[in-house]
Symmetry: C2
Subunit: 211 residues, 2 copies
């Protein structure tokens, strides 16, 4: 009597088909440019069929966002093996920049758009699991650095320090993404500027190495 299981599987399949189409289209054209009708047409369904699987467009976006956050967590998680916390912090930064360059539209939705309110309760990502929670990984790395006395004494709050590092790199990325076509500014290469920014942030927050 596996009919129920099959039904569920089929439902999950079309759900996945919607997600796949939406992901691809969002990534190449941006969320704003992709309509529900276009997604539906792509998978050869009616627009309303999507609403049978997702409450609305926002729910669809949020779901994909969660997957993106997990992906980011995994990619940053590779940096975790480095023992030295400050060096690890650097690597997290460069990996983060790389993620933004590779998935610009994803980055835009994840960090440059006010995601509509939703509860994280049901979420599939586990907080504080460094394999999945990118922010948790950052905070943990910074906290290790603080514990090891690597940072200047005024930085005692791991969250504050983490947010400073995050913001600095995010600033380079987001400003470029939003304004790079503005001819008023004589833009420098983003990756280079971001690398410089990481240097500045580390130098500005750490204590000089004991010689």
């Amino acid at each position: 009597m596996g009919t129920k299981e099959r039904r569920e599987r089929e439902r999950a399949e079309t759900r996945a088909r919607i997600l796949d189409a939406a992901r691809e289209m969002f990534a190449t054209q941006g969320v704003g440019a992709v309509t529900m009708r276009a997604i539906a047409e792509r998978i050869e369904y009616t627009p309303t069929a999507i609403y049978h699987h997702f409450k609305d467009k926002d729910a669809l976006i949020i779901e994909l966002c969660h997957a993106d956050f997990r992906l980011l967590g995994v990619e940053l998680g590779r940096s975790v093996r480095i023992a030295d916390p400050v060096e690890r912090l650097r690597r997290i930064g460069t990996a983060y920049v790389q993620f933004a360059i590779t998935h610009p539209h994803h980055y835009h939705v994840m960090f440059m758009t006010a995601t509509p309110a939703h509860d994280h309760d049901d979420v599939s990502i586990q907080k504080n699991n460094p394999e999945e929670d990118a922010y948790g990984l950052l905070v943990q790395t910074v906290a290790e650095g603080i514990a090891a006395g690597r940072f200047r004494p005024e930085f005692t709050d791991a969250h504050e320090l983490a947010q400073i590092h995050w913001s600095g790199i995010h600033g380079v990325i987001s400003l470029h993404m939003a304004k790079k076509s503005d001819a008023w500014i004589d833009w420098r290469d983003m990756a280079t500027t971001a690398a410089r920014m990481i240097d500045v942030l580390v130098r500005g927050t750490t204590l000089p190495e004991e010689a």
Copy 2:
């Protein structure tokens, strides 16, 4: 025969009325939430009347944006009196943060939205006039600091260095604006973080003072 002048004046008046209404509504509700119909209703005209004065909604936004940039330039221009370039850089940073806090919606449109392509040629702001061109002011200040040997030797490019400072502060502001309602992150106060960021940026780019 001043009829032509009167006509022009009347035209300019309703144009200004449109701009005033749009500015106020954009500032309080955000660009996305304000419709052409709503602006028209506010000034008791038909939506299409607006199109007689502005090509489309983007043109309206761009025009207001230019005014905002000029305002920012003026506000930052007050910092210009300080002689020491590094100290002036700090003051520009805090004034910039203050602008963002005071005019969050303006800030959002100015720096967090990909403004549709347009030529700056016709623009009323004068480039390199520090009273109006905020970015020019920043670059000039940074360049002075470089000339005075205040920055570390690897920073020779005024634009690059300016963009690093700008990005760092913008990162704090924009990340807060976009994600502050995200309960996943244990946010710290924006103004405090921004002040800390300025310290980090200055310390990370300047040479230590000669004792």
